[in-house]
Amino acid sequence: MRAIDWLSQLMLRRTDARPVAVVRIVVGLGAIGFALEAWVNMGRVLTPQVVDMPYVAWYPRLPLAALPVFIGLWLAAALGFALGLRARLCGAILSLCMAYTLFFDQQLYSNHLYLATLVVLLLTIADSGACCSLDARRSGSRHVILEWPLLLLKIQISIVYFYAALLKINPQYLSGSTIASFWPFNQLMTLSGSWSLVLPLIASVSILTEFFLAVALWIPRLRWFALAVGVGFHMMIIWTGGSHPGVPDIPFAIFAMVTVAPYALFFDFPRRRVAAQSYSG
């Protein structure tokens, strides 16, 4: 009974609309990157030489000639979402484009796209265009919005870090062999002596980092530290994940935008000037 009461109260609770506007802008820009990535990958899947791997035979298959139109729609929706121009409509179109791509072919599954689809969906439900948007300029800004979709989004980020860490607790990952496939860690493999112990240590630290991020963002006194750790962690992934040593990896950078931007929801933004004046008065 207590859980139901909590849930019914949560459905009514409102929160500051500014942090979610920041998330909407960053995720909208990230969605442009996802569109370009999908263009390349779907284009390949639709080539006759490449094998089809549908989840179900009845899933509607986009013809190759229609791909530029589909991507154009995706890009327009992403831009509109970032700018907050008809944000709910653009968010809905964007979610559908991403979800369609995710289920289009089994080769197109990516955890990055899956997370982005969920994030855009929740931002759309949350009415993330309520402020700092073209919609707000046109029809007035709303300072507060429903809290529950944002709570789901915050939980979602913790879930991703938690399971990503939990699943890495296996002999193969802990041995450092997975990390050793990335530069510059592969260089450590060539060194002899105690250097061989460094890779398992780095592997363990990466797991602990993800567990820490899953929890620390919820703890006010660790929040700023968690932000620094999270940004550093994703920068490291971007830096080491590229196909060439030291060249930043673009897909990892886009993923970082979608993962790190929702950190803003954990922070209290400064009071609005009007509110501050009324408090001081």
């Binding site: 849930l7 019914s8 949560l10 459905m11 009514l12 990958n41 390949r44 899947v45 030489q49 490449v50 094998v51 089809d52 791997m53 072919d105 089994q106 080769q107 197109l108 599954y109 955890n111 899956y114 969920l118 439900i125 429903l146 529950w148 789901l152 939980i155 979602q156 879930i159 991703v160 399971y163 990503a164 939990l166 699943l167 890495k168 296996n170 193969q172 990952y173 062999s177 997975t178 496939s181």
Partner: protein
């Protein structure tokens, strides 16, 4: 004189409808909240327990290194031909069911092929596919 559109009793009824709609919206939102959360918590657990790694929908990023698949065609003249599958697939992720879909596709692409052999380089999976001619 024109009658006002709502009298007091109409306004009361309209309030009732609005209130019921609001209640329904809250109920839908609560349902969405619970279902979304349940899926996001339970699906990765199911994938962790029951599916071979790496599995989709479970946030299993880089938890294991995927084994590399090897494909080989046995041709009509009795010779065998190893195949680099890179041009025929979009992804080599470990969760992509190459063994299920790719052999038939290779048979279609190579009319001389009689059989497709495949195995993962870690020995986890191997098989033979007869081309239908």
């Amino acid at each position: 004189m024109r009658q006002p559109r709502f009298d007091i009793s109409d306004a009361g009824a309209a309030d009732g409808v609005t209130s019921r709609r609001k209640h329904l919206a809250e109920l839908c939102a609560a349902g969405f909240f619970v279902v979304f959360l349940a899926i996001q918590i339970l699906v990765p657990i199911v994938q962790l327990i029951s599916a071979p790694r790496p599995a989709r929908w479970g946030w299993q990023m880089y938890s294991v290194a995927s084994a590399q698949p090897r494909f080989e065609l046995l041709l009509r003249d009795g010779s065998s031909k190893p195949i680099d599958i890179t041009p025929y697939v979009t992804s080599m992720r470990g969760d992509v069911p190459l063994a299920r879909f790719l052999p038939a596709h290779l048979c279609a692409l190579f009319p001389d092929a009689v059989t497709v052999h495949y195995h993962m380089d870690d020995g986890s999976q191997a098989g033979t596919f007869q081309c239908e001619r």
